[in-house]
Symmetry: C2
Subunit: 377 residues, 2 copies
Amino acid sequence: MAGRQHSGVHRLAVVGVGLMGGSLALAARSRAGVEEVVGYDPDVSALNEAFESGVITEKAGSAAEAAAYADLVVVAAPVRSIPELVEECAAAEPRPRLITDLGSTKAAIVEGLSPLARSIFIGGHPMSGGASSGARFARADLFDGTTYFLCTSGGAYPKLYEMLQTFVTEIGARPTHIDAEVHDRMMAAVSHLPHVMANILMEYAGNFEAGGRKAIHWAGPSFKDLTRIAGANPPMWRDIFLENREALAAAVASVSSGLDDFRRYLESADQAEIEKEISSAAALRKELLEHEDIAVATLYKVTARISDKPGELSRVMVALGDASINVEDLTLHHVSRSQGGDLVMYVDGEEVADKTRALLTSLGFATVVDFSGEALG
Amino acid sequence: MAGRQHSGVHRLAVVGVGLMGGSLALAARSRAGVEEVVGYDPDVSALNEAFESGVITEKAGSAAEAAAYADLVVVAAPVRSIPELVEECAAAEPRPRLITDLGSTKAAIVEGLSPLARSIFIGGHPMSGGASSGARFARADLFDGTTYFLCTSGGAYPKLYEMLQTFVTEIGARPTHIDAEVHDRMMAAVSHLPHVMANILMEYAGNFEAGGRKAIHWAGPSFKDLTRIAGANPPMWRDIFLENREALAAAVASVSSGLDDFRRYLESADQAEIEKEISSAAALRKELLEHEDIAVATLYKVTARISDKPGELSRVMVALGDASINVEDLTLHHVSRSQGGDLVMYVDGEEVADKTRALLTSLGFATVVDFSGEALG
């Protein structure tokens, strides 16, 4: 890893050695120069399997035992158990440097922590996963190119943020700073709400019979697309829904009211409103597809010279996050202690590149923009 | 086609030469022994293209001109224009023998017809289609293995039903008799409602912003699955929604009320109800997938000897449809005028096969069941 800043994570603790925790352990060792990975799991056979298959290098008898001495503790457990596990890890002696999690919701976790835990906790949420569970499905490349949300709302020291951010970059993901509450509201809209709608549709159509026939026996590809995620992991999703219940209830209420409006258009045979509704969805879907196309078509490379002072990388990332600039990829080429390093970022489109340059220049960093001329691999 | 009953369709009229009408014309000529296909389309360039590419063998200047003399007229037009076109075709001189359509809704079409049109109209709805439109995408195999609903509610003579049913079998589809209103209510549940939900979700999430960020920029695979059909063909879907507005409004109301219940469970943090909702969706989705697996795994062959009297095939199919027996495939091997023919049907699973045999035996047909031992190709 010559020429790159190292995160400083030498000893990693993974609390919960399933698909996510196991993949993170593999990626940390093969890509981020982590030497020791100590694992803990309340399921002893899962823990033994992770150790025997080489996913972790040490076994611990408790979360606290795993966390002691660690540079970074990753709590990879169901969302509702996270706060308690974080507290337990934060109270370990010798205290770990930094604790993060992989939960799909963030605000409730951060809010529930003690001041001690908050000072060494930064929330994380990689937007990757898999249909299978268990360490035996773990893969070092699970996070490749994935948006990896980081929520600093807990009040951890900036240097810790920088450590986590570098680590996330090293394992192949794209760190994106976000406010915990904003994160949860966005996840409610694009992830949790679709799960709720899939469940409700499955339940309605699955129980629908007419003339002695079951409607789902004639389900076509559209119905299957909409219900592919219906009934996904009930205990896990129950907890995600509960943890994010405020934002999710607002999303559900809004969709329900949209359906009520649409029902009224049907009842009054309002052609214009019905067509407007479909056309509006068509325009938004076009926008979604175009955003995806842009992501691979017109990447610009923005290079900023930053000093080696603590918190500099963090300052840049927080500023970019707050300005809603989505960095597609990021690497730090370490030049020298006196000169600092080159932070290389890829962003979508010329406009965003110019905005990034202007922002970084205003923060005092020498910044240049190049057209990358190629899609990221 | 030796050994098979021929539908008796020699001259076919196709009103509307798009993807569906064009595919039906191709399948009719290559598989159903149809010699002449006369086409009409209000779009002259579409009509010329269909003629020049050999999809149709003759061009007509109006729907009535196409329909005159035809054994079978297929109205392949947007749902709301179907009743008027059917009337025009029914009034053609010399009168066509039978008129059918390919519309996604059935009850409103049948209800709106004059007694004359009703006497020679049978509604049809093949559950196939494509993302592309236009005769240049037409394919003779578009209907292969497709459930093809036939609605007799219009009051056409039984012999006409039998002609259409044989024709549908010849082009490769699986005729399924269904009541028009039952058809529409089922399509509301498994097809029209999913479209409405996809549109509403796209509109909600597409407009959702928090902390200056657009939620859809973080849309993952689940969101994309649920919105793949959002915004589909606005004028076409507006008409389908309007034609089926009563059944669809009931479906939308039910889902909206399901969402309201779920919102209340969230607001009161009701763990048990939330998990029950997900588990119930999981069980129904399992049922859906199992139904699909069965369809290819355990087909049984049911052979019934039926006489060559008019209406016999129709009697069998109506009885099977009314008993909710879904015939996966059907062929009629014509033995002789005095002895009748062997009607060979494939059905899902031993239980259904036994039910089919019992039903056909009770109708007076000598019937045998074999395990087919293989999936249909």
